[in-house]
């Protein structure tokens, strides 16, 4: 039971990280002196949530997912959807680093108050936040396929 529930924070904090990045996009599009502090807060929260998702997901991946013979990895590889691991999991675990780095980059970028009046600076921050959101949703989609891969391996459909 602990094994099943302990993976949930990875997904939940990942979603929260995406939501905060979307919030940051809204703040950048409406940037002024009055919402600048809020932009910095939500950008920082996005990075913190993505970091928590990384640590929890990494721990779960290491301890449970790849556990010799009994881990989900082996269930998937022994089932009808081995590509759920071979492509989706392998790609997801490495593309995740892009999201992690960009979430920190966003925090660094919005720290400069020049963003309030500099349109090109706003475009840079917006680009970073949009990529975080796109890749974040991609991570969620890949995760759902990996879960289906486990289900297919257990049920044999």
């Amino acid at each position: 039971m602990f094994k099943i529930f302990s993976t949930m924070p990875h997904v939940i904090f990942g979603v929260w990280g995406i939501i905060m990045a979307i919030w940051a996009i809204v703040e950048i599009l409406n940037i002024s002196e009055s919402n600048y502090k809020r932009l910095r807060t939500v950008s920082l929260l996005s990075s913190i949530f993505i970091w928590i998702s990384y640590i929890v997901g990494g721990w779960w991946y290491w301890v449970y997912y790849g556990a010799k013979e009994v881990g989900d990895k082996y269930v998937i590889k022994g089932g009808p959807w081995p590509w759920a691991h071979g492509f989706f999991m392998e790609t997801k675990e490495h593309l995740f680093f892009i999201v992690l780095l960009l979430s920190m980059l966003l925090v660094i970028i919005v720290k400069n108050q020049a963003i309030i009046h500099n349109k090109k600076f706003q475009t840079l921050a917006l680009t970073v936040a949009v990529i975080v959101v796109i890749f974040g949703f991609g991570m969620e989609a890949f995760g759902s396929i990996i879960t289906k891969g486990v289900k297919a391996g257990l049920l044999g459909f």
Binding site: W62, G86, H94, L101, M104, I109, A114
Partner: protein, 106 residues
């Protein structure tokens, strides 16, 4: 107040580009050359943990290395935006492309 870029933004945007391409190339290297993967595994206990650690190290070290006046003069917001987009696109193609070819071939 001047509405200009700062050294850290330039430094860490450049380091993001380098770190993300480094990470993508490391994927191909460790997956195609087993001794590298074994060495990475030996370092922390899991190759993926070492991969993350190395990528973060590259990001932080290069971030401070590039946070200098000469890079601030060389790069503007547009260049940094393009660099962010293209390094992300290239790294994504390298990683997804490698695993796609590997999956289809096996």
């Amino acid at each position: 107040m001047e509405h200009k870029l700062d050294k850290k933004t330039v430094g860490f945007t450049l380091s993001y580009a380098y770190a993300t391409i480094f990470s993508a190339l490391l994927v191909i290297l460790k997956e195609t050359y087993e001794p590298i993967k074994d060495a990475m595994k030996a370092l922390t206990g899991h190759h993926w943990a070492t991969h993350g650690l190395l990528t973060l190290l590259v990001f932080f070290i290069l971030g401070y290395v590039f946070a200098k006046d000469k890079y601030l003069e060389k790069y503007d917001e547009k260049k940094l935006t393009n660099l962010t987009i293209w390094s992300t696109v290239i790294a994504t193609i390298l990683i997804t492309g490698y695993f796609l070819i590997h999956t289809l071939a096996s």
